[in-house]
Symmetry: C2
Subunit: 235 residues, 2 copies
Amino acid sequence: MKKFELIYNELKQKIANKSLPAGSKIPSENQLCQDFNCSRGTLRKALELLAQDGLINAQHGRGVFVLDHEQITFSFGSLISFAEANQDSGSTFTTEVALCRNLLCDAALASVTGFAAETPLLKLLRLRTLNNEKIIADLNYFNTNLITGLNQDIAQKSIYHYIESELKLKIGFARRSIEVCAPNDYDLKYLDLSQFNCVVVVKNWVYLADGVLFEYTESHHRPDKFVFTEFVRRR
Amino acid sequence: MKKFELIYNELKQKIANKSLPAGSKIPSENQLCQDFNCSRGTLRKALELLAQDGLINAQHGRGVFVLDHEQITFSFGSLISFAEANQDSGSTFTTEVALCRNLLCDAALASVTGFAAETPLLKLLRLRTLNNEKIIADLNYFNTNLITGLNQDIAQKSIYHYIESELKLKIGFARRSIEVCAPNDYDLKYLDLSQFNCVVVVKNWVYLADGVLFEYTESHHRPDKFVFTEFVRRR
DNA sequence: ACTCATTTGTTCGTATGTATG
DNA sequence: GCATACATACGAACAAATGAG
């Protein structure tokens, strides 16, 4: 692991276990440089990451202060998978693969997903259950030229872990949109919508580090179970 | 303006006017350092900002490439005000101030807004109209100990511009949440909801650079007119 | 009002590591 | 193997904001 990542993780943990409590001032940059035996540039890179996470706030001439981060609960603000997002929250989600089949991208699908026509794709429908209610339906399309060897077993667990650890591919970035739509046939068939007549649709276009689109996903959420939170800085 | 900001703005403009077109490789860091007469650290700081914006993607050993950014339309991914967000999009929004009055924060309001009880607040309700339809209701609470001199005239224009340019205060960061709720009394009274029985609620807690909360806002959007888009990087 | 030490912010230069072709 | 290009790390200097004296 890189040095700045080590420092970042160490400070992050100290904030999490409150040995650096919210509201407190952390040691000065020069002090931390000594503690971690690093240059100021390296330390500041770690602090930058913590600031982006909303964990600390630097004040010119005063010092760096720990923010109260308890308020951010289930953050979608970074690019993480469903499995990753839930492994540390105490909630007990389960995943069921309702559909898993190969197909070729046609013109209609191309305009929705952004894949070129004729691209071989794996189509997945996965249902997420919380407290015996199916509240999320994830519809994924993966480019199987890039993501090879995907199967139902992997889909049950974490596809992102498979892509990075098994295939050794680097995930780069994603574009995302959030909107509210009428339920489609899948939603009506599979989700426990009860009285709700709309769903929150989160669309994701995910690219490898070399800029190639490898995944298009639509997550359909029951509106009462959807909260998106994020932290943003003024520039 | 700082040197890295100048470089950032210049490159951003070249991408916007397509003298650096999507898909193209931009000059190497060393070349750009010569062009801008700056160090590599300074140049990389500018490139970092462009990368966060989703405008470029760096590939180790290959170069830096311009991404296709047309796909991000109405981004709320950064911390900007309604007026700022709309000044460059061609749409013709109008703002109407429906309510503007001073009050003291009571216990109930304190738990919602995060302000301490007894804090003097200005409560604002502003309606945003697009094509003769009222589709957004913004309910703001400003701490008037910090944001002094606010009035209906300023609320009609841009409060953020007033805070930064007139009061010379520095806005630091915000926490935000997005969820779907049943319409409240204001929504039913003021918005053109037609057949919709829900609204998208965006809550914002906004802090000055010194970490003090100065604004709590709820934006209520008609669901069919709400799209939130953002760009995220894998870390 | 002024000085001064402290602390963060910006910029430069240099060296080395690592991925690509 | 080699040149190119981005990534990481170190050190140094000065600027700018803050707060204490």
